[in-house]
Symmetry: C2
Subunit: 268 residues, 2 copies
Amino acid sequence: MSISSSESAPSRNLKIGIVGFGPFAQFLSKTMIKQGHILTATSRSDYSELCAKLGISFFKDVIAFLEAENDVILICTSIISLQQVLNSMPLQHLKRPTLFADVLSVKEHPRTELLRVVPEDSDVLCTHPMYGEESGKDGWKGLNFMFERVRIRDEAICSSFLQIFESEGCRMLEMSCEEHDKLAAKSQFLTHVIARTLVELDIQYTPIDTKRFESLVKLKEGNMNLSFDLFSGLFVKNRFAQQELQNIELAFNKVKQKLIEKMNEDQD
Amino acid sequence: MSISSSESAPSRNLKIGIVGFGPFAQFLSKTMIKQGHILTATSRSDYSELCAKLGISFFKDVIAFLEAENDVILICTSIISLQQVLNSMPLQHLKRPTLFADVLSVKEHPRTELLRVVPEDSDVLCTHPMYGEESGKDGWKGLNFMFERVRIRDEAICSSFLQIFESEGCRMLEMSCEEHDKLAAKSQFLTHVIARTLVELDIQYTPIDTKRFESLVKLKEGNMNLSFDLFSGLFVKNRFAQQELQNIELAFNKVKQKLIEKMNEDQD
């Protein structure tokens, strides 16, 4: 019996190449750097100045990025741009087998896309840290981290990557990408629909707020910094979200119908 | 110059007769008893046992209730039943001028109804404590209390009644009933519509909840104990709520439309 399983192997510093250096990648990278990992990044926009400040090597040239012998290539693009970004990456320039991981907020879509483009000798790990800058601002302890080991041969690298989140105290949840998307449609997507509706309504604090209304204004305000690309990605690239949008509309219509019936009764 | 204005007059113990002894009246009465006020109650249902436990005299006979020489008659009926309850009260049995106050969650409607039925020599104060059993469970400090002095001659009684809430630390907000109903449609009523929609959807905690989704499940759960009578009253008896329901539907439809446009673009 081996005393050193892949699970308990000591975590090692990884060379992580980030693809797509938007706000969520910037947020994650701070913790990775703190933990001692070596980061590089590439992105459609030029983040070379910001990366220089953070101690991250920024590659404008994606071939140079791919040739840099990363242990992990971490996909942090928007959901909507994933396919185009992956299609634009000449993955034949990889020098060795690499773990491809993603952190997108839908999971079946990147799973399919990564299995389509990642070279057969490279591994695929799909993950979703269920938090962001706001909920994670005081650390990640107790926050949910979902993952599926889609195609893993190099257990040591995969385990070291998961350790980034485990060691910060995340609640590690292994489940299929399909199961994630079913649950996320009924939770995260629903939350965004409500929050976006509140943004459209432009709800504001009033002098006579209840505590429960205040929680809705906070929900709205937390949503205003999130991009429409994220929101529309949660819908367009999650087949369960489309049913959920119908469910929300049906539920609202039931509520409305009951109110109107009551009003008609009252007027009789 | 008088050194003792009505504002600074020492608060006195009041004889308060409560009309309608449902959960919200029960909740308020505990604090009133703690403060030393003498309570009586009448209600369409028989609450004599519960009242006996709380030290409140319960009157099945509304004439005896009216003849008991209360300083304040506090209306705690549901919004929907207010008119019927007031019509059933033979107010000519009052032995003396009395302050009629209400705590309903809409304000123009009780204002109109009280001015219609309350004897000319009695006073009218419309109030709305903007909290309930849940938000007020650890005391009322900092919670909003709205009121309009609709027709006040006996400043001492009115002031002593308001003192019940002021002394617990409520944020006292004097505004017109119309202004209240405008603001409440956009805050409290909206909150109930969202919460009821979440009840219809039967949203549940999942293993991968975000913090923001958890706040929506809490909102739904807090709403499940509230009656449909309250919710429908917020709609039927607040003329601004009807416009707000349309606004919510329009906002949702805009959000839906944007998502569907994005989906169509994606499929092109």
